[in-house]
Every structure is written in C-alpha cells, then in structure tokens.
Amino acid sequence: MTSPRLDQPVIEIRDLRKVYGRPPRAVVALDGVNLTIYRGEVLGLLGPNGAGKTTTIGILTTRIKPTSGSAEVAGIDPVRLPIELKKIIAVVPQHMNLDRSLTAKENLLFHAEYFGVAKAVREERAARLLEWLHLSERADEKIDHLSGGMRQRLMIARALMHEPQIVFLDEATLGLDPPARLLIWEKIRELRAQGLTIILTTHYMEEAEELCTRVAIIDHGRILALNTPDELKRLLPGGEVIELEFRQLPPDILDRLQGVEGLARAERDASRVRLYVGSAGKALPRIMQVLDRQVDDLLHVHLAPATLEDVFIYLTGRGLRE
C-alpha cells in the first residue's frame, strides 16, 4: 500500500465558516474549520447528520460558497477558479444523480466527454471500470433498472472516468445493505492502495475505522479531533469498554462502582452502564464483586475494544445511544 505523503499537503482549509440564511433564522453550518489533508490520504469526516460534513465537501468541490475563511485544493481556490478545480476532482454525491436518460455505460462515456477525454481512451476506461465494479453485464441498462448498490458503484466509476487527483465520497454507502457496502469498502481500499487522495464523509463509525488513514470527528460545524483511528481511541480514558445491561438498573450503581480499580470512567442511561477500563479481563471480576446479588438482574455483558463510536460519545459528551 502506498502510504500518505505527509510532506505534501493537498487540501488546506483555514477558519472556514458557512452560515446559511440570514439572521434571525441563520444556521451556522461550519464554525471555523481548520484542516490540512495530505496526498494519498483517505481522510474521513465523521459526525452525525447536520454536523457540517456535506457543507465542507460542497465548498471544496466548488458547489457551496463559504461565508468566510479560505480553502485551497491542489493549490486552487474553489471560489476563484472553480472550472480549473473541477477538472482534477471528482464527487460521488449523497443523492443519486446519474443521468436517467442514458444507460450505465453511456453515463460513463458522456461524463468523460464533458471532461475532454479522447474517444478511444474513454471507451477503454469505461469498459475497464465497469468490469472492476462488477457492472459489465448491466452496462447497457438504463439507470432505473439498477439496484441501489449498482448505482452507487456506477457513480464511483463515473467519478474515476476523468482520472481525478482527489475523490470526494459523500456518504457513499448510505442506505446500502451489508454486502453492497462491503463491496464498496473493498473498492475504496483498492483506490487507497493506488495512492488516490480520498475524502469521505460518513456517519457509520465502523466505515471510518475500516477505511481511513485519518479521521476528523466533526460536530456542530467544528472539528473536535483529528488523528488516525488508533490514536483517536487513545483519547479514551481506558482502552476497552464494558457495557452492562440490566433488567432493572440499581439506582446507586455509579456510586458503587466508583472505587473499582482500573475503571477510568462510567456512564449510564436507563438500563445500561458503560465502563471505560484499561483491561476488561482484570476489571470484570472486580465489577462483578461490587454488583454482588444484583448480578441476577444482569441481562447482557458486552466487552469490546474501544471504537470510534466510543470516542465520539466521549468527545461530544452525549449520553448512550441518544
């Protein structure tokens, strides 16, 4: 795998703000975002709906004008030179926007024609990409006859037709079933191995964890943390998480667990406690001891290494499964 060139910044975002509408109904979508993305990276923008992910991508891809601050993509300002920038980037959007009047293959061919790719080259490239994304057999079908996963793959193929330097994937696997999602993950990994710079947004934690070299956790228009998935997990007080689900949660549970050795942090909701610990193996017997007779009320014990979801919950301060 080609590793990211951390000495070659390709996207620089400085103090980026975007406000939609006017006061009193103005909505702040980006509230001072700073971010540098390097060549060959797969950078994930991870956050809930409305966090500002799509706005960030919209600005970097020329479709949204920032309210203030600056962005440069491959040295090009998207506001001043949008046409130049569009030549070297590609977008796989959140909403299906394939050309319904054309077949799958024609979608690819015309897209390349818009970008001035020579006829012989676009024919060859379309055939190769359709094959690579398992779409060859459906090449001559209209878009309406393709499944959601196929359309998503076709949009990825379309994005690659003009050989962009940077690809933006906005919620590329939203609403897909697991096999369709896994196939797309596999293809994104292959693109990463080829050294393409990819910026993807997702609100699936496991997607960010699986695919990204670095992840920016974004919420309310701000970047809360930016690092590799492993480093982000180290932000947590303990490396592992124990989740206990009770038939009836003892009201004083957090107090009682307070003194347990190795417990870094504890949270609760109506029926569950979530315990951040250094080592689940060592902590669990002690926790059971403290629980004593209430062990009978225990429905479920879940042990897991910390995930980005835990990091997200930890950083945003939101309770469990809100």
Partner: protein, 256 residues
C-alpha cells in the same frame, strides 16, 4: 469558455432528444394538428369560417408550435432536475461555468423549436382545407424571425424552469400557457384587432404575438400584419427580458 465541455453537453442533449423523438413529435405536433383539423379543415368545409382563415392561421400555428416546443424542451427537464432528480448537480461538476450551462440549455431548446417549426409547416399545409398561399420570397425575414422565436422560446423555458416548482406545473399550464395560446394572434391577424382596440394593446405583452406576426410578415405578407419594426422590437425585447431574468434565476438557483 470551455468549448469542448459545451459541445459535449450539447452532444448529450441532442442524443437524448433524438432518442426521444417520438414523444417530442407527439408533444409538439398533436395540439396544433388538431387545431388545424378543426379550425382549418372542418369549419371551412362547413362554411362556418372564411376560407382565408387557413392562410391566416398557418403562420400562427407554426409560431405556436415553435414557442411551446422550445419552452417545454428547456423548462420541463429543469423543473424535474431541480425538484427531484438533482441531475443538474452532476452537470455542474463538469468543467463549465453555470452561465455557460444556461446558454447550452438555450441552444438545445432553440434547436428543438426550429425543428418543431419545420415539422408543423408541411403537416399544416397538408391538413388545411383548400390552398394555403405561402410566399417564400423573403428568406432573410424568415430566417431572422425563426431564429428570434427559437431563442425567445428557449429562454422563456429557462425562465420558467428556474422559477417554477414541480408542484406548480399544472398552475403554469393554466395561468401562463393558456393565455399565451389564446391571446397570441395565432388564429387572427393583429391588424384585424383594430375592431377591439383595447385587446390589440393589451396583447402586446405576449411574445407569441410577435412570433405569429413575424411569420406572417415572412410567409404570408399579403395578409395585413404588424410592421417589421414592431415585430423585431417585440421579439428583441422578449428575448432580452427572458435571457437576463432567466439566466439570473438559473444561476441564483444553483449558487449556494
């Protein structure tokens, strides 16, 4: 301006239009053809209208077909793309400016308007009762008027397409299209309206008036018609208005 991208987009739109030819012809020709059958064939046979009506009517029918063909060719896809499919977002990622994209839409619509005019002309002549006396001895007037109508119709389409929501297509048909159709000097020459002076003035806001009268000046100059200055002024002002407002609305709609 990126010509290569412009031509590629034009190529795409023409391929799709040709593929869509059958429904284009039905959409464009059915209504004028039926009007011709009733007003230009059945009623003259019954002696209910003057035999001259066929000659008066034909330029109006061509103008009507052109105006609606160009308007629909631009407005309908835009309304759908803005409202539901968002395909326009993909076109906007092509290396082309929003304004140039608007111009491309107008070129496609104008071509379809010209094509509609060419299709309805022989059909009209064939369906009319009796002889229609057409005069092709003013090719420059014909060419300029046809081009003018084509651009007016397509920019009118851009204007409507950028401003109207999909839920309001029905409203657009009855509130905009119907009055244009009836008050467009299609079945009667503008000079004839001297009998109804207020109407003769009010309908001057309708671009179809200049289209019908322009084609009368070009194809049936023997029928009394509006002067060429009025015709060119009317077509020119409608073109300017729809182009400026239409392109602006289109750009505003696509700038976030």
């Amino acid at each position: 301006m990126s010509w290569r991208t412009f031509l590629a987009l034009l190529h795409r739109d023409l391929v799709v239009s040709v593929r869509d030819l059958f429904s284009f012809l039905v959409r464009t020709l059915i209504q004028p053809a039926f009007l011709v059958v009733i007003l230009g064939n059945v009623m003259p046979r019954l002696g209910l209208v003057a035999p001259d009506l066929t000659t008066i009517m034909l330029p109006g029918m061509i103008a009507l077909s052109m105006l609606f063909a160009g308007m629909q060719a631009v407005a309908m896809p835009l309304i759908i793309e803005f409202g539901y499919t968002k395909e326009i977002e993909d076109r906007l990622l092509a290396p082309i400016g929003i304004r140039t994209l608007a111009v491309e839409k107008i070129v496609v619509g104008a071509l379809q308007a010209v094509f509609a005019g060419l299709a309805i002309l022989p059909l009209g002549v064939y369906l009319m009762y009796g002889e229609v006396r057409l005069d092709f001895s003013h090719p420059l007037i014909l060419l300029s008027v046809v081009l003018g109508i084509a651009v007016v119709s397509a920019s009118f389409g851009l204007f409507l397409g950028a401003l109207i929501d999909p839920q309001k297509i029905g409203l657009m048909m009855s509130a905009i299209v119907a009055p244009i159709l009836f008050f467009g000097c299609t079945y009667y020459p503008w000079r004839g309206l001297e009998a109804v002076p207020w109407l003769q003035k009010v309908i001057l806001i309708n671009p179809l008036v200049y289209a019908s009268e322009g084609l009368r000046a070009a194809l049936t100059p023997q029928v009394p018609h509006m002067g060429l200055t009025g015709i060119y002024l009317g077509l020119g002002l409608s073109m300017l208005l729809f182009l400026v407002v239409g392109v602006q609305a289109f750009c505003r709609r696509l700038t976030i």
